[in-house]
């Protein structure tokens, strides 16, 4: 919303400075977005009298002028303008002035041997026109010493404010002035609107053609004819105002409606009566009806839109934009003026559907003052009669104005309750009444009726806001919020929140870099990772490849990895901890942690090195990250099952079936998976490997057991030396080493403290299709040193068990 300071002063009797006005606007909630103040920019340019202009002794084209600037002694100025002459009045700028048209700051100078202390200026130098033929030539009565901008009326600053959706009333200058008056900036002097008596009945009839349920679409419609007008260009003052706020003057009738829109937040419409055939009907449009609107575009309508039609068809889009066919131009002699009320919701929807952003739509969808429907028409009529002449008809008024809302029961104490601010009752009452509220009753509780232009005010809290914004929010005193209990703060984070935080730090400490990628990914990528269901597809994605809520963090990470590789950083280790989606319910959203390693981005180091180059990443890097994460989070991994295999074994479809596994606590407790990314997935996503990854759902992890005390279990240390025995078994290649370890462990759970795989061998010396798995078994005696025979017995038992279960033979 833009207006000029002088326009504001039509409504507000104030002597306050522009700065005070703009500060106050922001203070009361009408945030100033921009102020354009030519007067300030041109402050140094003042009116001066040329006492004498004589020829420069050393230059034919220059003159030496003695100038009376109105401030002390005459000033000598060298001037090159052909029109500089004795006795003229022009515009002077002293040294130090910034000259906008030349983008220089003026200095004192000596020009061809003659001192020059300033400049006489052209309009171009002030950036006021293209005219640089000579210096500005002012009338004889121009007051010497006065700022030029003030003299020519350029001291009218243009103010632009941001108006919040609740403050429709501030979309007119009168409403802005009301707020400023209430805030103490001066008296409100908006002129009263007097009814204009019609000299004859309006010849055009109006029908509100709505079913009972649709009557809200046009609650009221007022119309009158003014005949015999002359629709010439509007007067300069009106054109200047419209131009100042960025509108193009058209003709007097149109300019008047624009003026009413911005002055009083009362959009109107004018029809050229000669182009209207028959009577007017206000109704829903018929599907397929079209209109060529005043913006020169043609619109096809549906029954969702409301129109004003005559015997020709649709003449105007109600409350949004008029039609070209019945528009007013310089030939218009008889004009129909409409002032109506429309349903804000319908206007908003229609405007959105048609893609029209007009000043009328903007106001009607926020809500205009219903009580100003008829006065608005009278005011416009008066302006038309004044500027265009003519004779007005009586007003046709169809429909009814809505009843005003009931008064609010308001205890003054509400202000202190909600703001902590203790204001005198008289101040609170004055704030309300000066904003147009009606306060009735006395004492602690009063009835407050909101004015018709404040449809947004419905309850006590709204009144508190009105009072406190006029009083000033700066008066609200900052008050410490007491602790709920006066004690040391209890921990606030949940187990999942702590694990989410810890997971990030753990993964970062393993050399992975945290990425935050989009929650939405392409439909193809979503489908590839088990998503893509219809309920998670956006109806209006911002881009075609950001259409589906991600079922997994991996597509985003894989894509990010490739983008880095494309930039020359191929050894990428990334992780993300964030939400993934299984369906559109709150329960279908999970917190996942995923990691990705690419190239040679291994834990121990990256890339080539004098001490030996890093190998390309493999599936065990992903497994190490995942296991490291689980142990780091303190998840008990005793019951964890690592189930090998790809999608056919119930594992992830994104992973290499022979180089991946699913992690679960029991058949239904799947927590995640790790693996090498499947070559088909690499191809489908157009990325290059090697690429290994893991992903788990943090919310699927078992919760720690509740313990009544923080005491740790007793530490039992054995005083006897542990003994380690090595066994190398020859087994089929398909036998899982992990199973062999479990078998060895289970041979004597009390005695065997640890089983490790210390060697793995295939090749020469081992039969084809078989492998050698070397286990180091550590025995920890508890109550006595083991005898060699006891150790041998355990060993024999392990060997027997391995032979039985896996057909394993000791390697010779």
């Amino acid at each position: 919303m833009k207006f000029t300071l002088s326009w504001l002063k039509d409504h507000l009797d104030t002597t306050d400075s522009l700065d005070t006005v703009t500060e106050t606007l922001t203070r009361v909630g009408l945030e100033v977005e921009a102020v354009e103040d030519k007067a300030k920019a041109l402050q140094a340019f003042t009116i001066a009298y040329v006492i004498e202009a004589k020829q420069h002794p050393n230059a034919d084209r220059l003159r030496v002028c003695m100038v009376d600037t109105g401030a002390g002694e005459p000033v000598q100025v060298v001037c090159g303008a052909p029109n500089a002459r004795t006795g003229m009045k022009s515009v002077f700028s002293p040294p130090g002035t910034y000259i906008p048209g030349k983008d220089i700051t003026l200095g004192k100078g000596v020009i061809r041997g003659v001192e020059s202390n300033g400049m006489l200026c052209s309009a171009a130098e002030l950036q006021l026109s293209e005219d640089h033929d000579g210096i500005i030539d002012l009338p004889e009565d121009a007051p010497v010493g006065q700022p030029y901008a003030t003299y020519v009326g350029l001291d009218d600053a243009v103010i632009e404010i941001a108006v919040t959706p609740n403050r429709a009333d501030a979309l007119g200058v009168a409403g802005v002035a009301r707020d400023l008056a209430a805030a103490g900036l001066g008296g409100l002097k908006t002129p009263q609107v007097l009814p204009v008596r019609g000299a004859y009945p309006c010849p055009v009839k109006v029908t509100l053609d709505f079913a009972e349920a649709d009557k809200h679409l046009c609650p009221a419609f007022a119309l009158r004819l003014v005949r015999g007008v002359k629709n010439e260009p509007s007067p300069e003052w009106l054109q200047a105002r419209l131009r100042a706020i960025g509108l193009r003057p058209i003709n007097a009738l149109v300019d008047i409606t624009n003026f009413m829109t911005f002055d009083r937040n009362r959009p109107l419409h004018v029809f050229d009566a000669a182009k209207v055939k028959g009577d007017l009907t206000v109704r829903r449009a018929r599907d397929g009806e079209t209109i060529l609107a005043l913006d020169g575009k043609s619109y096809t309508l549906t029954s969702e839109q409301v129109v004003i039609a005559d015997a020709h068809g649709v003449e105007s889009l109600a409350g949004i934009m008029g039609g070209e066919a019945s528009g007013c131009d310089e030939t218009t002699t008889d004009v129909l003026v409409e002032s109506a009320l429309w349903d804000p919701l319908n206007i908003a929807r229609s405007g959105r559907a048609l893609g029209i952003n007009s000043d009328a739509r903007y106001r009607f969808e926020r809500g205009v003052d219903p009580d100003f429907t008829r006065p608005g028409l009278d005011l416009a009529t008066a302006m038309i009669l004044d500027l265009c002449g003519g004779e007005a008809s009586e007003i046709i008024f169809e429909g009814d104005l809505p009843e005003s809302a009931s008064a609010i029961d308001f205890p003054w104490s509400e202000v202190k309750r909600l703001t902590g601010l203790d204001l005198p009752q008289i101040e609170m009452k004055l704030a309300l009444t000066s904003l147009g509220f009606h306060v009735s009753g006395a004492g602690e509780r009063v009835k407050v009726a909101a004015p018709s232009w404040r449809g947004d005010v419905a309850g006590k809290a709204d009144l508190v806001e009105e009072i406190v914004r006029i009083a000033g929010l700066d008066r609200v005193v900052s008050t410490p919020l007491p602790r709920i209990k006066g004690e040391v703060v209890k921990p606030v984070l949940t187990v999942l929140q702590k694990r989410t935080r810890a997971a990030k730090r753990l993964l970062a400490s393993r050399g992975l870099v945290e990425a935050v990628t989009w929650s939405f990914i392409s439909h193809d990528a979503a489908t590839l990772f088990g998503g893509g269901s219809r309920q998670l597809v956006l109806a209006n994605p911002i881009a075609a490849d950001l259409s589906d809520m991600r079922p997994s963090l991996l597509p985003g990470l894989i894509r990010a990895g490739q983008l880095n590789a494309d930039r020359g950083l191929g050894d990428v280790a990334l992780f993300e901890v964030g939400q993934v989606f299984k369906d559109d319910t709150p329960e279908g959203q999970f917190i996942a942690a995923a990691g990705l390693r690419r190239g040679t981005a291994r834990l121990e180091g990256v890339g080539r090195h004098w001490d030996g180059a890093a190998k390309p990443v493999d599936v065990f890097d992903a497994k190490a990250d995942l296991m490291g994460l689980l142990t780091g989070l303190g998840v008990p991994v005793g019951g964890l099952q690592i189930v090998a295999g790809g999608s056919s074994a119930g594992g992830p479809a994104w992973a290499h079936p022979g180089r991946s596994a699913t992690l679960r606590f029991g058949p239904k407790g799947v927590i995640g998976a790790f693996g090498e990314v499947h070559p088909k997935v690499l191809k489908a996503l157009d990325v290059k490997g090697p690429l290994v990854a893991f992903e788990i759902h943090l919310d699927a992890l078992p919760l720690p057991k509740y313990k009544p005390t923080k005491v740790k279990s007793k530490l039992a240390l054995s005083g006897f030396q542990p003994v380690t025995r090595d066994f190398a078994f020859i087994v089929e290649k398909t036998v899982a080493a992990g199973e062999m370890m479990k078998t060895a462990q289970n041979t004597d759970r009390a005695l065997i403290a640890d089983v490790a795989v210390f060697d793995l061998y295939e090749g020469q010396g081992v039969e084809a299709g078989k492998k050698s798995v070397a286990l180091a078994v550590t025995l920890q005696p508890v109550d006595k040193t083991l005898t060699e025979a006891e150790i041998e017995a355990v060993g024999a038992k392990i060997v027997a068990e391995m032979a039985k279960r896996y057909g394993a033979a000791l390697r010779g």
Binding site: T26, R27, G29, T164, P165, N166, L345, A348, R349, L418, G420, L421, G459, A461, V464, E465, V468, R469, L473, D474, V476, S478, T479, P480, L481, R483, I484, V489, V492, L493, T494, R501, K504, R505, L507, S509, G511, L512, V513, A515, V516, T517, S519, F520, R534, L538, A539, N540, G556, A560, L569, V577, G578, Q579, F581, G588, Q589, G605, V606, W610
Partner: protein, 360 residues
């Protein structure tokens, strides 16, 4: 000179001349071995008369002790020299670079870091952290928050929608974390003190807007919380978060459907040379929106607005991260460019605390 002195001089010369431990050992054996020269002399003692022994004994034993002492001294000296020689031969080029460890490569994203900072500050004021789903209902994202159906305020949000389900209801991506406030109020009896950090979505894209961004909202509900408390909480937060002693804030009346009165907060700053600094200067920078929770919202959540009251605020996590740490553009936050993350990211153990400081 007698025989013993001669032998002693000869042996000591041999010891001094031994160039390594092997040579020295040979000297030892030649002197003190079974067939050694000193051993031979010692053997003669047995055949001597007491008088002879009394005379020769100390001489021979003295010789033995002297030679033994010289042997061990020489051995130690040779050992030292050998060690020196070994150490010299073992010298490596210590300037060779070691592999960069994982702790040097890993990074925490600024958003995670700033969420941890915010949590540390509000946790100290007794706020817990509430979370909710990104896919929300229209009811919780708008209607319960007092956005009338079709109200222009809804348009300001540029909402992402999903296709309508069988009942015609269409879910959406939450445009703010306010639905978490609603869920909290519906689930929990006051007093309530929560912050709600999380991802939010609006159809917007330019230097300072991305279709996905992060917000943190706060909510206080009890029977006394008023705007003065709100002012204090926000002032204290800004001081703690930006790690400055003084902050000048401007509270301006504004409009949000879910608060009444509604306030926008500007923070005073200087913008010298394109760098924003708080606690100085004459410029204002909008930083957050807040207000007293609207009575309709309280009612919609089952709370009586004449009994309960409170305030709420919301701000952009990405935005305050940019203001604090100086990233000029929001878009790279979500591009996972390793160069950007290495520069703007945080070390794994840069854990923000109030005791140790939020940032190092």
């Amino acid at each position: 000179m007698n025989e013993i002195d001669n032998l002693g001089a000869s042996l000591l010369a041999d010891i001094a001349g031994a160039q390594d431990e092997t040579a020295l050992e040979q000297v030892r054996i030649a002197a003190l071995g079974k067939a050694g020269s000193i051993s031979a002399l010692l053997k003669t003692l047995g055949a001597m008369t007491p008088e002879e022994r009394k005379d020769k004994g100390p001489l021979i034993n003295g010789l033995r002790d002297k030679v033994q002492g010289a042997l061990s001294a020489r051995k130690e000296a040779l050992g030292e020299a050998a060690l020196d020689a070994r150490l010299a031969s073992e010298t490596v080029d210590i300037t060779l670079p070691v592999r960069e460890g994982p702790e040097a490569r890993g990074r925490i994203h600024p958003i995670s870091q700033v969420i941890d900072e915010i949590t540390a500050i509000f946790g100290d004021m007794g706020f817990s952290v509430a979370e909710g789903p990104d896919v929300e209902t229209d009811d919780l994202n708008f209607t319960k928050l007092n956005f009338p159906v079709g109200h222009p305020a809804r348009e300001m949000h540029d909402t992402f929608f999903f296709a309508p389900d069988a009942n015609g209801e269409r879910k959406l991506l939450r445009t703010h974390t306010s639905p978490v406030q609603v869920r909290t109020m519906m689930a929990q009896e006051p007093p309530i003190r929560v912050i709600c950090p999380g991802r939010t979505y609006r159809m917007d894209s330019d230097q300072t807007h991305t279709p996905m961004f992060h917000q943190v909202e706060g909510l206080v509900i009890d029977k006394k919380a008023h705007m003065g408390h709100m002012k204090w909480v926000l002032e204290e937060f800004c001081k703690a978060f930006f790690e400055i002693d003084n902050v000048k804030m401007r509270f301006r009346p504004s409009f949000f459907p879910f608060t009444e009165p509604s306030v926008e907060v500007d923070i005073q700053c200087s913008r010298k040379g394109g760098e924003i600094r708080f606690g100085e200067g004459e410029d204002w920078l909008e930083i957050l929106g807040c207000g007293m929770v609207h009575p309709n919202v309280l009612r919609n959540c089952g709370l009586d607005p004449d009994v309960y009251q409170g305030f709420a605020w919301g701000m952009g996590i990405d935005r305050i991260a940019m203001l604090k740490y100086g990233m000029p553009d929001l878009r790279p936050f979500f591009e996972a460019d390793l160069r950007w993350l290495a520069h703007y990211g945080f070390r794994p153990l840069d854990l923000p605390t109030l005791t140790g400081g939020l940032s190092s």
